[in-house]
């Protein structure tokens, strides 16, 4: 009954989505408020039913009902409970259901908290949201239905894949999806604006919190996926320019650009046409990302479903949504009025430069990811575009972006004073130059670019701090006043600072890790000592242990620095008896923000064991950076300005009347 009820709830959600995608839009066209309001209740009911459906699937996985094909294929009664639950989205069908559930969640949130939106904009946006939902419900029900049943239920499920039982893998996809799907809201708003033929500064303010939320989740999702790859795959890499990773990076780049251009639009009513285009592109890239991963069309180190009917359906959805929205854009964009003017050197100009560089970087990733696919279709020749391509194109585009970054917030709107901004950045520039000089003198080895890159990162960080210091008049006013002023600054300013500092922090981590990473691969016998980056690692012994469903070989290392013992590390290798499979469990030891990393290889006949030992300086900064960025996003999101006119508009607007 659970399975059937869940299945039916999904069908009902489709029916509601169909109503949601037509009735409110007709209502908006005819200006009938009652019809427009249908959008709200259907969006909420849709959320309820798809939530029921997803809950049912989770429950089926938890109670191991193998009469459901999806549970039989992707679960096993012996899995720990947590992995039974996370296994729900570890497979194609379940992950698509999660995808629409999140879509419905965002729709429901707009319905609930969209009181500050004009009725017709909300109706149209939810209507567009309904189209997207409809397409996905059909896709799920017709090609990837998780509720299909088996007449003769088997006794045991098929999947107990040990590699997939990992907490990082469990949270990473929902995070990514929250990001991908969150951009559907800005997409819906953009399409709604195009349909209404009217777009204003207010639009940007309404869209910004949703974009910000999606961007935060995507940032966290990408960082988490990267950390998972780092510790789980056992060879210490954290970014592979793999198509699947690129698929999540592209919407992030476009979304970051969107976030910045929406600011210009909100403040200055400019860049309207461009912002709408970015909103469409960001969600299109999200769709592409979802499907590149799901359809397995890419030559990737990822294995995924390949199924012709699914593939065709996917292509159809992509064509309809991306093609359709871009056509609508081409048709209607000219009817949007141009807005405010600004000089090339101004806050707007800086943000335009930011947009230009981010979207260009996004385009190069796009080319690198899809070029092999296109070439194979056209010529049959197979190539792979690897990390060197991206390093050669992506990095040079990011350098000017980062150089310009500290200037942006210091420039005034409309017409900025670059000399003044530069003057205020003197301190930052000097600190950056000093750190370059110190690094050059101090550090041996590695690329000559590394100190320069770190200097750039320092410039970005100090520059971001300078902005806050300037605004609070630190050093120019007594400390107590400056502190009070700092508290009084809009949270969005603080958010900007944290996000920009996060960029610099991540850059330091990336540069240090890639430049001064020490690696030692060797075979050790118990008693042997390996020396890496000033640490001595002594292999004490190798022992065997029996886990719940695996045998484990543990290597015990004592780590000492300068003769003093600082800890033990126990990397291991697990072999799963029932399925002739083994996994490597790397051992990590953090020293500040640097890490030691050991992973095991094969044992030789002599009893020696192959090990890989890495010393990764500053590696943790790579993930602290995105955490800071997401925290900055959270601060901005909490800024009161983004909640203007929320629940009680009548009262609020009166009190906000300017005293003139």
């Amino acid at each position: 009954m659970i399975a059937e009820a869940g299945h039916y709830a999904l069908v009902l959600a489709l029916a509601l989505a169909l109503i949601q995608s037509t009735v409110p839009m007709i209502g908006a066209r005819l200006r009938d408020p009652v019809l427009m309001n249908v959008a709200r209740s259907t969006a909420l009911a849709q959320l309820l039913f798809v939530g029921l459906s997803f809950g049912a699937l989770v429950l089926l996985h938890v109670i191991s009902d193998f009469s459901v094909a999806n549970v039989y294929e992707n679960s096993h009664s012996l899995k720990p409970l947590i992995y039974k639950i996370t296994g729900v989205w570890g497979n194609h069908e379940g992950s698509m259901l999660l995808w629409v559930s999140i879509l419905a969640l965002f729709g429901g949130l707009v319905a609930l908290f969209g009181n500050n939106l004009p009725l017709s904009l909300r109706a149209n946006a939810l209507g567009v949201q309904g189209w997207v939902s409809t397409a996905f419900y059909l896709f799920i029900l017709l090609t990837s239905n998780p509720f299909l049943r088996l007449v003769n239920p088997p006794l045991e499920g098929r999947d107990l894949n040990p590699v997939l039982q990992d907490p990082g893998l469990a949270i990473h996809p929902p995070m990514l999806y929250l990001g991908y799907v969150g951009f559907s809201i800005s997409f819906s708003f953009a399409i709604a604006a195009l349909i209404e033929g009217r777009i204003d500064a207010a639009w940007a303010r309404w869209v910004r919190p949703w974009t910000l939320m999606a961007w935060m989740f995507l940032t966290l999702g990408i960082a988490m996926g990267s950390y998972w790859a780092y510790y789980e795959l056992g060879w210490g890499g954290w970014w592979f320019w793999d198509p699947v990773e690129n698929a999540s990076l592209m919407p992030w780049l476009a979304g970051t650009a969107l976030l910045h251009s929406a600011v210009v639009m909100e403040k200055r009513n400019a860049l309207k046409v461009w912002t709408v285009l970015l909103a469409i592109l960001t969600f299109s890239l999200s769709l592409l990302g979802t499907f590149l991963v799901r359809s397995g069309v890419l030559t990737s180190v990822h294995a995924f479903a390949t199924d012709p009917t699914r593939g065709v359906f996917i292509l159809l959805i992509l064509c309809v949504f991306i093609g359709g929205s871009l056509s609508l854009y081409a048709w209607r964009a000219s009817s949007l009025k141009q807005g405010g003017l600004f000089a090339p050197i101004s806050r707007e100009g800086a943000l335009v430069l930011n947009n230009l560089l981010l979207t260009t970087a996004c385009a190069t990733v796009f080319i690198g990811t899809l070029y092999p696919l296109g070439l194979e279709v056209l010529t049959g020749e197979r190539i792979s575009v690897g990390a060197p391509f991206f390093n050669l194109t992506f990095a040079p585009l990011f350098v000017p972006l980062l150089l310009a970054l500290p200037f942006g917030p210091l420039l005034a709107w409309k017409r900025g004073d670059i000399a003044g901004a530069a003057q205020r950045l003197y301190a930052a520039g000097i600190v950056a130059l000093v750190s370059i000089a110190v690094l050059w003198a101090w550090v041996r080895g590695g690329s000559a670019f590394a100190p320069l890159a770190i200097g750039l990162a320092v410039f970005v960080i100090i520059g971001a701090l300078t902005d806050i210091a300037e605004r609070s008049m630190l050093f120019r006013m007594p400390l107590s006043i400056a502190l009070r002023r700092a508290r009084g600054l809009p949270r969005a300013s603080w958010g900007t600072m944290f996000a920009h500092v996060g960029v610099g922090v991540a850059l330091i981590g990336i540069v240090c890790e890639t430049t001064w990473n020490t690696e030692l691969i060797s075979t050790l016998k118990p008693g042997d000592v390996a020396k890496v980056a000033g640490y001595e690692l002594k292999l004490d012994d190798i022992s065997q242990r029996q886990g719940p469903n695996f045998g484990e070989m543990l290597a015990h290392f004592t780590v000492s620095e300068g003769g003093k013992m600082i800890g033990v590390m126990t990397p291991s290798k697990r072999s799963f008896s029932t399925r002739a499979m083994s996994t490597t469990e790397a051992a990590l030891m953090s020293r500040g923000v640097s890490q030691l990393y050991i992973s095991l290889g094969d044992t030789a006949a002599s009893g020696a064991i192959a090990v890989r030992i890495y010393h990764k300086p500053m590696v943790l900064l790579i993930w602290f950076g995105p955490l800071l960025m997401a925290f900055g996003g959270l601060l901005s999101l909490s800024d009161r300005r983004l909640r203007v006119g929320a629940p009680k508009p009548a009262k609020a607007s009166r009190s906000l009347q300017p005293a003139e």
Partner: protein
């Protein structure tokens, strides 16, 4: 609460979600407006000026700009009209009342299986399903072994079964575990080798050969290992060596050894003479085991066909005379499936059902086996 009641309840909920807003009046004045945003922006400018974040002149310019937007927005809001389309609303209500249940019901009945009961793990553990297929039994044993990976006896029981099911990789692992936890012996080593060879599509790999050699070291007369060592020699291009080995085996073999025909066929394949049997070996029909079929997979296409054909014909003939042998029928059907002759397999199935009509137990077993072969129709 029956399923249908629940589904009906959900349908009512969905319809209600559409009807509810249709039945209510909407106060447009209370909805969000653009002007609210601009008013807030003006207030923000004032705050910024008060805090000294922007200068007075800049603030004044910004205020003018925002005020212009505010005026435009207010004008647009004034000009917006509201209409009420009662007929359209009624039409929407009808669509909700009729369209939602019809669409949802039709699609669900097409896709869903409302007749199937739930089958959660807990209820399954209490009531074992009668007539479990071999696959399910294997799954149960595997479950047991996941929990008790050191149960060597369990592994040694499971291993050959897995091999017979064609799950060679699993079988090899099971044999290894059996050897680790339940002791080493020639039969297990030979079984491991066979599973490895099976996994390599019948090719006796170096790894498999090593296992056979170990088996022979443990028991010089282990027939399976010796046979496969012959196959290895043959695959390495030394048919003479293979033939000598097999001839030696045959000459020592007891007359009723089930593997005799396999060896004879193998010898025929390499073109060597078959030593005269000490007794009429064909008196007893050999088992056409899966092992044999698996081992035959390494041969060339023609040889393999001829060999299997001969054995299958013999089996068919015997079953025609004495039909009361479920295993025999299944073997025959399986052999036909392997030979890609589903029509013959189906004919054998019908013959078998006829021959076993009086034997209820046998018939059940037969049907199960046929199901596993996918010809239970």
């Amino acid at each position: 609460m029956s399923l249908w009641f629940l589904l009906a309840l959900m349908t009512v909920g969905a319809i209600f979600a559409v009807l509810w807003p249709l039945s209510r009046r909407t106060d447009v004045k209370r909805e969000g407006r653009e002007s609210a945003v601009y008013q807030d922006q003006l207030a923000e400018i004032d705050r910024d000026i008060a805090n000294g974040l922007i200068g007075e002149t800049e603030g004044a310019a910004a205020r003018v700009e925002i005020s212009r937007r505010l005026l435009a927005a207010a004008d647009a809001e004034e000009g917006s009209t509201v209409s009420s389309r009662l007929r359209l609303r009624r039409a929407v209500a009808m669509v909700a009342l009729i369209g939602v249940p019809v669409l949802a019901g039709a699609l669900y009945l097409h896709l869903g299986s409302p007749a199937l009961p739930d089958f959660p793990l807990t209820s399954r553990a209490r009531a074992p399903v009668p007539g479990q297929s071999l696959d399910q039994l294997v799954a149960q044993v595997q479950t047991h072994l996941e929990k008790n990976p050191t149960d060597g006896r369990g592994w040694s029981v499971l291993a050959p079964v897995l091999g017979r099911l064609g799950r060679f990789d699993d079988a090899a692992q099971a044999f290894r575990n059996a050897i680790r936890y339940d002791g080493d012996n020639a039969a297990r080593r030979a079984g491991l080798g066979e599973a490895l060879a099976g996994a390599a599509n019948g090719v006796v790999t170096a790894e498999a050969k090593a296992e056979f050699e170990r088996a022979v070291a443990l028991d010089a007369d282990e027939p399976k290992a010796r046979y496969f060592l012959g196959v290895a020699a043959e695959q390495d291009g030394r048919p003479k060596e293979a033939a000598a080995l097999w001839q030696d085996m045959l000459s020592k073999a007891p007359p009723d050894a089930p593997w005799r025909p396999v060896l004879e066929a193998a010898l025929a394949r390499v073109g060597a003479a078959v030593p005269a049997p000490s007794d009429s070996a064909s008196a007893k029909i050999p088992a056409l085991s899966n092992d044999t079929i698996a081992s035959v997979q390494g041969m060339s296409e023609g040889d393999r066909g001829a060999m299997i054909r001969g054995m299958v014909d013999r089996l068919a003939a015997r079953l025609k005379q004495n039909g009361d042998d479920v295993e025999g029928w299944l073997r025959l059907a399986r052999a036909y499936m392997v030979l890609k002759e589903p029509d013959n397999a189906r004919a054998a199935r019908d013959d078998a059902r006829r021959a076993l009509a009086a034997n209820e137990d046998g018939l059940r077993k037969l049907n199960e086996g046929l199901k596993a072969l996918g010809i239970d129709g």
